[in-house]
């Protein structure tokens, strides 16, 4: 109680167990959310770059069969391809299979191809938005957790205040100070998470839109092919 050393470290070390737990949770949340932020940033960047490159090669007039074989070989090497290539491969594979069967109905072929691409698209969507729910939870929950720690700490320090006769500011100030650290940590964890979530959600939207546009275009090419036979 006496000999106050108000460095932030001693404040944290002297805090009550519950407040320390809250701080620990917030620290972990912050660390993990930063891991997610960096990972997502790299992943989405790579996805966008990959899409641009693929579009360039796709519209360069390359033979689709060759492209398909190249991409399949590459995917086997990498152990599962990424992004828009998967959509293309799924659609093309399904189209070839259906088209090779005898007396294939063009509409049925197109239907099958579209379905296969839809599945691939939804898989890609899933991949793009992994971890984003976690960021959203950290963003919305960690201020409350911090607030809880603060309220608890202030509650305790006021309880302590009630027990002493000569109540001075110095008897409650350290308690309140230590309690407020919890809120600060909550905000520290929440702010980057909010920003990252908003940014990445928008980015995922854009990439998904790109994928869908491509899928439609590809589908129209295949449609032309299947009906021109």
């Amino acid at each position: 109680m006496n000999e106050e050393n108000l460095s932030i470290l001693s404040l944290i070390l002297n805090a009550s167990v519950l407040v320390q737990m809250v701080m620990g949770i917030l620290l972990i949340a912050s660390v993990v959310s930063w891991v997610m932020i960096v990972q997502r940033s790299l992943f989405l960047g790579a996805a966008q770059r990959g899409f641009r490159e693929f579009e360039d090669t796709f519209w360069s007039g390359i033979d689709l069969n060759n492209l398909y074989h190249d991409l399949t070989a590459q995917a086997k090497e990498d152990g599962g391809g990424d992004g828009i290539e998967n959509v293309f491969r799924a659609g093309f594979r399904e189209f070839n299979r259906l088209a090779q069967t005898d007396k294939a109905d063009p509409d049925a072929v197109m239907e099958g191809t579209d379905r296969a691409m839809r599945v691939a698209l939804s898989r890609e969507d899933e991949k793009l938005s992994t971890n984003l729910p976690f960021l959203a939870s950290v963003a919305s929950v960690s201020p409350y957790i911090g607030l809880f720690g603060t309220v608890w700490g202030i509650m305790n320090s006021f309880r302590g205040l009630a027990m002493v006769q000569q109540a001075t500011l110095a008897t409650v100030a350290p308690g309140i100070s230590e309690a407020l650290i919890a809120t600060a940590m909550g905000l520290f964890a929440a702010i980057p998470a909010v920003i990252a979530y908003n940014r990445y959600a928008a980015q995922v939207e854009v990439i998904n839109g790109n994928y869908e546009t491509f899928a439609d275009e590809f589908s129209s090419i295949l449609h032309r092919q299947v009906h021109s036979r």
Binding site: V38, Q39, D78, M163
Partner: protein, 239 residues
């Protein structure tokens, strides 16, 4: 594979960011908890040097040379002898006088030196006394501030029983060791209410140790804090 590398990059970045933030906080949050102890005000007294003024030593007058005149004539001789005698006498008296004067002067000088020494000694003594007084006052002030601290701490730790009344007073004696730890508590003068006395004793035991006393000089501690007497009375109660 790709996922793994991007995750490890994320982990690295996150760790670096958090370590940097924590380090910045720990460095910038230098605790500003300098203990403010009462700084006693005192007037600086300086001993003014009483430089002994050197009196220029009087030069001894040169001995008048005796004119030795030789006259052929007896009369002249006698006269000369007379003159000589008179001269010698005069010289002797002169010498005597000079000697006396010198002696007197020396005596005066000795006396003056003695007096100066006496004055200096007196001044020194006065200065020492004053210094001692200042020291004592300073000590008193420091002791008082520590005493105040002890009293405050005891009062903070004091839980008054419901039976406490305003006119009660308990005088306790606390025995301390130089680390500031309380090694014993005696009730010197009971208030008449056992619960009240006990609460006072409890307050002292709860205070346990006054670490600030470690900063105190041993001399001061021995003088003022070996045993401390504190009176407790609930002055703020309206009962």
């Amino acid at each position: 594979m790709k996922d793994l590398t991007s995750y490890s990059a994320g982990i690295l970045c996150s760790t670096v960011i958090h370590v940097a933030v924590v380090a910045a906080l720990l460095i910038n949050w230098a605790p500003e908890s300098k203990k403010v102890m009462v700084q006693p005000k005192y007037i600086e007294a300086k001993l003014v040097e009483l430089a002994p003024k050197k009196k220029p030593v009087a030069k001894k007058p040169a001995k008048p040379t005796v004119d030795a005149a030789k006259k052929k004539r007896e009369q002249d001789k006698r006269r000369a002898a007379d003159r000589k005698k008179a001269e010698a006498k005069r010289l002797a008296t002169l010498k005597e006088k000079q000697r006396k004067e010198r002696e007197e002067k020396e005596k005066r000088q000795r006396e003056a030196a003695e007096q100066r020494k006496r004055i200096e000694a007196e001044l020194e003594q006065a200065f020492a006394e004053e210094q001692a007084q200042i020291n004592a006052r300073e000590d008193e002030q420091v002791a008082n501030s520590y005493m105040q601290m002890i009293r405050q701490r005891l009062t903070d730790n004091w839980n008054r029983p419901p039976s406490a009344r305003r006119d009660m007073e308990t005088l306790i004696e606390i025995r301390l060791v130089p680390t500031g730890r309380i090694v014993g508590v005696n009730v010197l003068q009971s208030s008449g209410d056992q619960a009240f006395d006990r609460s006072v004793e409890q307050a002292a035991f709860k205070a346990e140790q006054f670490e600030e006393l470690q900063q105190l000089e041993t001399r001061l501690f021995e003088k003022h804090f070996r045993t401390v007497k504190v009176a407790f009375s609930p002055e703020d109660l309206r009962l």
